[in-house]
Symmetry: C2
Subunit: 234 residues, 2 copies
Amino acid sequence: MDLLLLSNSTGDAGYLAHARDAITELAVGCKTACFVPFAGVTRDWDTYEALVRDALSPMGIQVRSLHHAADAEAARQVIDMAKLIVVGGGNTFRLLQCLRERDLLAPIAARIRSGGARYVGWSAGANLACPTICTTNDMPVANPGGLDALGLVEFQINPHYFNVVLPGFCGETRDQRLAEFTTLHPKVPVLGLPEGNWIRVRSARMDLGGAHTSRWFLGARIQDVQPGPLSLPL
Amino acid sequence: MDLLLLSNSTGDAGYLAHARDAITELAVGCKTACFVPFAGVTRDWDTYEALVRDALSPMGIQVRSLHHAADAEAARQVIDMAKLIVVGGGNTFRLLQCLRERDLLAPIAARIRSGGARYVGWSAGANLACPTICTTNDMPVANPGGLDALGLVEFQINPHYFNVVLPGFCGETRDQRLAEFTTLHPKVPVLGLPEGNWIRVRSARMDLGGAHTSRWFLGARIQDVQPGPLSLPL
């Protein structure tokens, strides 16, 4: 498997610009990408396709969005032929709902696992690669028909990870939310992935990319990790 | 129906202290409360019961938590006899999961709708009174088996409402998350309820309590509302 799982898409330098080298490395030899736009809610899918096309075209990658497929069967054929599947961020619940309604979860997972296609996802697209979407930060604005996802990796990702405590705010902090997850699922590791970081998976090897410290959560244990080779927490 | 739906439980003056007058007014004549602790995840249910007991006891209300019921049938009997049902905050997904697993959603809704019991809920407990939990801020750490909830009111609540934009944070703001909801559900009103505010429902009459401005979201429209009589947005 070849995966690139990014915390976020945007930064000061422009859309996906911070991950340009990482995407280029993953996508070497791929001239076309199948873009999955379904996490887009307030941004319509044509607009989203144009945004990603403009970001990937300088890297020599032509983008075609999956929403142009006439129906679920046509979409499945697109997946089965894809060499590079790119899953954009937005709302994770909506993304999972659209994929489940079209019966595309298993075909995407099979295509990636077979090595037929490589996978790039950011934010919701990174969550989708996990066993479930249980560590998304998104609002459940759509019913995804279950929380299980692609399961390409055996741990959970929390994108846009940070743990700011706002004065006067009585809701949960991010770490408190993640502690709820690890309380109910004490054997499932969660990687808190801050803005600008990503995970590169090449078969059994994993690397943490980007400039920042990331953080593993496993049960009650917390372990900071620096960019470089990444292994599951002990 | 008699409902009191609070944004939050905590404040500088102590647990539920900011809502003491509102709770006392709603609960007049009620000497015992059935407490629903299931939103508690990192706080165990015995501890949660003690916390709420200490908060409500000075108001002359004795608290007994529903988790002491031997099984789902016993819990249902408790609900059917309750005069006051108090639903605590925590994780909304876990709360809904526990109630659905025990088949308690319909009995609670029926008991409240019949006027047999009054309802107090904060945070997750306020979300539970809505048609769905689609406007919770919580992380989906448990599968609730569907997002539909009690439906005691015909609009959605977003508790702990604020719209701070954090420097360097590339995830969605609260208003962007709510815009995702109103894009997919343009006819369903959402009330953004800031810390310290609450909604009092007496049959067809609604009032907004607390010191702050709240905010209606309906489709693309936003409408600020001041404490006092509350009506659905036009």
